[in-house]
């Protein structure tokens, strides 16, 4: 038996595959739910209800999707250029720290929200960029594989955050808890629905997806970045400046992950702690892959992952089964989705 790539993937399969994947993931997690003595069918209903059944559920689902769209974009952009940025998690944290540090500048307090919000987001993005430029520099200069360095820098970044929020950036009013000073009120993103956590970051994330799609498919930079990733030697022969192209890609990727952190702080949390991210950076990588590295697809994949998580988490409480089932369901559906997308692109031959 072997797999053969289809030159033109069939549309029917491309639509059916994700459905199949969700079914498969739900079947397996249904088994696990049954193991806990609960009724899987009821559980499925509760998952849907949890994510869509109430104002709270819907808003929470969209709130959770927001950073995932951005970290997913960060990974998609980098992977297209074969820049293996596994450091989204660290860049997310530095972005969060960056926005808070920016808010601590005395002059910022005097500025109006219309100025503070864009500048704050830029500060977060720049912080994320810097963290990715380090491993890229090491790769370009010394040939150090970035898979490992970006991975390691995640831990360094979180420790650095911990150091800062325990030191110079510590909130004196936080009863000694290691957390940063809050961002100024003028940097807080407006809510989309009141009495919920949903904020305009969602729209910003969706807009970024469109921008990235446009950059990748319509601009010289996009085509060059892809060429540099797919075959650096041929790209160099065609005159693509490899170094600058990769640096630009890294800025975009790190910037998006940093922006994710900044927006999470400005829209949801208000300050930085070391548990700001439930693996947003790592999930972004899988989400990017689910979307086949397509920026618009990232929105869908992020929503999917958020639905699964928020729905399953709420279901676990309704059924009093261990809440870890939510993470299990999400991870499972990511894996089955990867397989399904593959099968849609290949045909099986004897």
């Amino acid at each position: 038996m072997r797999f053969e790539r289809r030159d033109h993937p069939s549309r029917v399969l491309t639509v059916l595959a994700p459905v199949g994947a969700i079914v498969a993931a739900l079947l397996v997690s249904g088994l696990l739910i049954a193991l806990a003595g609960a009724n899987p069918i009821r559980a499925y209903g509760l998952i849907l209800k949890g994510a869509f059944g109430s104002r709270l559920g819907l808003s929470e689902m969209l709130t959770r999707a927001t950073p995932l769209i951005l970290t997913g974009l960060a990974a998609a952009v980098a992977f297209r250029a074969r820049l293996w940025n596994i450091g989204g998690e660290g860049q997310f944290y530095l972005g969060a720290l960056g926005v808070t540090a920016f808010g601590m500048i005395p002059a910022v307090a005097a500025m109006p929200a219309g100025v503070v919000i864009p500048l704050s987001m830029a500060a977060g993005a720049v912080a994320g960029m810097i963290l990715l430029l380090v491993p890229l520099g090491l790769r370009l200069k010394f040939g150090v594989d970035e898979v490992v360095t970006t991975l390691l820098l995640n831990f360094v970044a979180v420790l650095f955050v911990s150091l800062m929020i325990d030191g110079v950036m510590k909130d004196p009013l936080a009863f000694g808890w290691p957390q940063s000073v809050p961002v100024p009120d003028s940097a807080v993103l407006p809510k989309l629905m009141d009495r919920t956590r949903l904020h305009v970051g969602l729209l910003i994330a969706a807009a970024m997806a469109v921008v990235v799609w446009w950059l990748q498919s319509r601009t010289v930079f996009g085509i060059r970045a892809r060429a540099a990733g797919l075959n650096p030697r041929a790209a160099a022969f065609a005159g693509v400046p490899l170094g600058t192209t990769l640096i630009a890609v890294a800025c975009l990727s790190g910037g998006l992950a940093g922006l994710a952190g900044a927006i999470e702080v400005m829209g949801v949390k208000g300050y930085v702690t070391t548990d700001l991210s439930p693996n947003y950076g790592y999930s972004g990588i899988v989400i990017a892959m689910l979307a086949n590295l397509n920026p618009i697809g990232v929105i869908g994949a992020a929503l999917f992952s958020a639905i699964m998580f928020v729905g399953a988490d709420s279901m676990s409480r309704a059924l009093s089964i261990p809440s870890y089932i939510a993470d299990v369901t999400v991870a499972l559906s990511l894996l089955t989705m990867l397989v399904a997308l593959f099968l849609a692109q290949y045909r099986i031959r004897r």
Binding site: G143, V147, L152, P322, Y324, V328, A331
Partner: protein
């Protein structure tokens, strides 16, 4: 200065180094095997968690410690099989699959653990491996207690370093494994199916990761709890590069890393005013420095992260 000398010459410090290094040695050997055959396995963090949980659960339910170790290895191999099926015949992206496995295996472990041990008010415990004093040898001054007063899995890890070094360099199977990591077309042309070779090797490597996890619950500590692997798996991934894909250097790297960890714990008790985060950062930063130093010399398996599909152009 005196304090530093005291720390560096204490038996306890060096004993701790070997103990802290053990899961790193096992995990690094696991990653090393996978990478030598051409597949990155970022599932390690989750696979270690699963091994830790499963091994502990077996012992908690009455199995003896070695059965627990074997069960953990089998559990690791099972997730290895999953990773292998997705990345080898299907050729899915290795980073992404690995991260997916990590997310899945760890949450799955927590879930199963919570089902098996529903309402524990403090972590239930088992009777873990005790340090085995090897007679005579452990009486050697200094070295004796450091090396010959460890738990059995530590000795197992050390033996495995030698066995895997031998296996990779001196046996026909090891040769085939290395070739599959360099150029799968070449093994195929010699009549060995690289697909099966890769699947088998990844399973073996993942079994070692399972053992690495089990060491945490069956020897280093006596109970399981969520998030207990704490990034040790990722360290192993870095150590493999540090070790330029060589088992003996993997041992060295693991010891070095453990040294920093043990050292910072001891330094904290005597040096004041330095934030603990700086100490904790040290091993990661030093790993990166080591990677820079090694980068020029490292011989990366040439087919690492390149899926092999027969007859695809």
């Amino acid at each position: 200065m005196n304090i530093l000398a005291d720390i560096l010459t204490s038996v306890g410090m060096w004993e701790a180094v070997l103990r802290i290094a053990t899961p790193l040695i096992l995990g690094t050997l696991g990653v090393l095997l996978c990478e030598r055959v051409g597949v990155l396995n970022l599932g390690i963090e989750g696979i270690m968690t699963f091994g830790a949980m499963l091994g502990w659960l077996a012992v908690y339910n009455g199995a003896d410690l070695w059965t627990g170790m074997i069960v953990a290895a089998l559990g690791g191999a099972a997730f290895g099989l999953l990773h292998a099926l997705l990345t080898v015949p299907l050729g899915l992206s290795q980073h992404v699959t690995g991260l997916g496995i990590t997310l899945f295996a760890s949450s799955f472990s927590y879930y199963v653990f919570r089902l098996a041990v529903p309402t524990a008010s403090s972590p239930p415990t088992i009777e873990p491996f005790r340090p085995l004093e090897i007679p005579v040898l452990s009486d050697i001054p200094f070295l004796g207690p450091v090396i010959f007063n460890q738990t059995a899995p530590t000795y197992l890890a050390l033996v495995l370093v030698v066995a895997i070094a031998w296996g990779l360099n001196r046996t026909p199977l090891g040769l085939a494994i290395r070739m599959a990591g360099e150029n799968p077309h070449a093994v195929d042309a010699q009549g060995i199916d690289p697909i099966w070779l890769r699947i088998g090797t990844i399973m073996a490597g993942s079994a070692l990761m399972g053992l690495a996890g089990a060491f945490l619950t069956l020897a280093a500590f006596n109970s399981f709890f969520p998030t207990m692997v704490q990034g040790r798996g990722w360290i192993c991934v870095a150590l493999v590069v540090f070790a330029s894909w060589k088992p003996a250097r993997a041992l060295l790297g693991a010891l070095l890393f453990a040294f920093f960890d043990a050292f910072q714990l001891r330094l904290q008790t005597v040096v004041e005013g330095v934030p603990y985060q700086l100490f904790l950062m040290l091993p990661y930063l030093l790993s990166i420095v080591a990677l820079i130093v090694m980068a020029r010399r490292a011989r990366v398996p040439q087919a690492l992260m390149r899926p092999y599909r027969r007859g695809e152009r």
